[in-house]
Subunit: 356 residues, 2 copies
């Protein structure tokens, strides 16, 4: 279903990209591969107008570089830097965004589980400057979702974060667009790939350090793997889900948190041998008008639907009023799925522009 | 997120309901339970302006009856008939719809797996008359999806059918709204509850007739249970999925069909005892530019994700380019889930009115 006349010339959509780690590096080629689709379906061509990273600083490009051209380079970042202009790290996006005409921030910096900075400031400044904002970073959403959404509404723009939980699996969009008035009562899920993988590898006989190394080699571990293993990553995701799906007002500090650090290696192995391995389970439900949420290691037997979540596989099980129990499974995701979540948000923003 | 000003008076949305079986009887109270939500979020109050059934004829109500009032009656159909006007079964909806000002047809008649009639004619007439149409009936979609969608586009109205496959689980809406450009390559699924239940009950020692009776008591079997057991229901669903998710041009006759009729009772039982029970599996994939689709009984071992689809539980596993493999599970659905799919479509139609 084409949403614009095929004869209309495509409009550039100028993007500012902050963070240049695994997700950004997977996002660029994916964006390029979908550029023709976006031009055909939306009448829009994605153009990169700025790329910033903590280690290398912020570069902008007056004309922007099309995603197609950029992704075709052997080293896209170096190409962008050499053909662009380095700018001093400005305090606000108003200047940077205005210089290059960017209308959308893509925030892909790494998780800070203590206060969500500096991503939170990036997003707040972008929204204040009237730019739509998309993030794959859980921190700012977990700490300031309500405020950021209010800011977006106030400016009639969008703030989207689909890839913060189960990557590009449409959890938030599912709730917003395709399960209207379904009445979600509670959820249980396995949301942290690193913990799942580490628990599996330890059960298979590897040491903790070896298991962590394997997660890092797969590119799924957070910068500090203890963000995963101590449950911080899952706490951020559980907070966001509780606030979005259950309309809670949960803060990360209010989520009961217990990681896998306290489990004895031998207990992990004997639990797995007995057919009920430990998993790091996120859960939330309504109780006495409030939403209570927890992250903790639990033994999952074969009669529990979460049992299918082996290794990195993510699972979420929603209890709903009108649809009973539904379960969503993302099999062995990699960073590609996170990148797809960002693309999916970008398409949603472009489709909905002017309707918010 | 309220989509209208709270001070605007609610607009009635007048519905014509055709078919008064299990789904319609579950839909009415669900609609009533969500009327306040619809008024608050959409500024719209649902009103029933006509109810037709094959056995009792078509009744209309000049003012309409609010879903709330209707659902509060002990026998809603009898109340509607006694307070309304019986009309001769008209050949077109133009007359009936115009008389009562209905703008939306909800088509819930039973499946005719041979040509989709009379539901196909009902929907075609409604769309031609400028009414949005929603159906839970697989026949018209399987036989005439492309033509009906073209008709809807031509009139700038909507034709939706979420509940035809996996009830209210958002499969089509998932693809349309929340997995843009994901590149679905193929799917495999367990889509027929009756077959799943019958296979399970036979494995547990019941006779075929007893197993069929149990499916009928649950209200999940088609009017003729052999529509389910011979694979017709799954063929219809597979056709719709292949055409919607894989953009195929598949007809029901082109789907390779093999039901469970040919399986020996003892083979079903020994397969289940061996841990790899038979399931009626729907599948489709692209091959040489075309979409090929099949429905057939296969043995499903414990290492296959479809193994979780026990009894009536529905499962679909999508292979995608950008998101890898994702699996969606609807646990032990009943007619309530089908009714939710109709409600979900109704809300989607109302939200999108004027944007198509």
């Amino acid at each position: 279903m084409s949403e614009t006349s095929p004869s209309a010339p495509p409009t550039p959509c100028r993007l500012l990209l902050l963070g240049y780690g695994h997700v950004a590096q997977a996002f660029l080629p994916l964006l390029a591969s979908r550029s023709a689709w976006m031009e055909r379906e939306l009448g829009i061509v994605p153009v990169i107008s700025g790329i910033g990273s903590r280690s290398q600083g912020l570069y902008i490009h007056a004309d922007g570089v099309s995603a197609n051209e950029l992704a075709s380079k052997l080293d896209p970042l170096r190409f962008f830097q050499s053909s662009g202009t380095r700018v001093e790290r400005t305090e606000t996006f108003i200047q940077t965004g205005a210089v290059v005409g960017a209308s959308l921030l893509i925030e892909l910096t790494t998780l800070n589980p203590h206060n969500g900075e500096p991503a939170l400031t990036h997003i707040r400044q972008a929204l204040t400057a009237g730019m739509d904002a998309i993030t794959a970073n859980k921190g700012p959403v977990a700490f300031a979702q309500a405020g950021l959404q209010a800011l977006a509404r106030q400016h009639h723009i969008q703030f989207r974060f689909e890839s913060t939980v189960m990557d590009g699996f449409p959890l938030f969009n599912l709730a917003q667009f395709t399960l209207p008035a379904v009445g979600i009562q509670s959820f249980r899920g396995l949301l942290n790939s690193t913990s799942g993988l580490v628990l599996d590898r330890i059960a298979a006989g590897y040491t903790l350090d070896e298991a962590i190394q394997q997660a890092q080699q797969l590119g799924i571990a957070e910068a500090d793997p203890w963000y995963d293993l101590d449950g911080w990553d899952a706490v951020m995701k559980t907070t966001i889900l509780a606030n979005t799906l259950l309309e809670g007002q949960v803060t990360p500090a209010a989520v009961r948190r217990e990681g896998i650090r306290g489990l004895a290696i031998e207990d992990m192995r004997s639990a797995a041998r007995a057919g009920a391995p430990f998993r790091l389970v996120s859960s939330a439900s309504r109780k006495d008008g409030a939403v209570i949420a927890a992250v903790r290691p639990l033994r999952i037997g074969t009669d529990d639907i979460l049992h299918i979540g082996k290794g990195t596989t993510g699972v979420i099980c929603l209890e709903t009023e009108a649809m009973g129990t539904i379960t969503l499974v993302e099999h062995e995701p990699t960073v590609l799925q996170t990148a797809y979540g960002v693309l999916s948000d970008l398409i949603t923003v472009l489709r909905r522009r002017g309707t918010d």
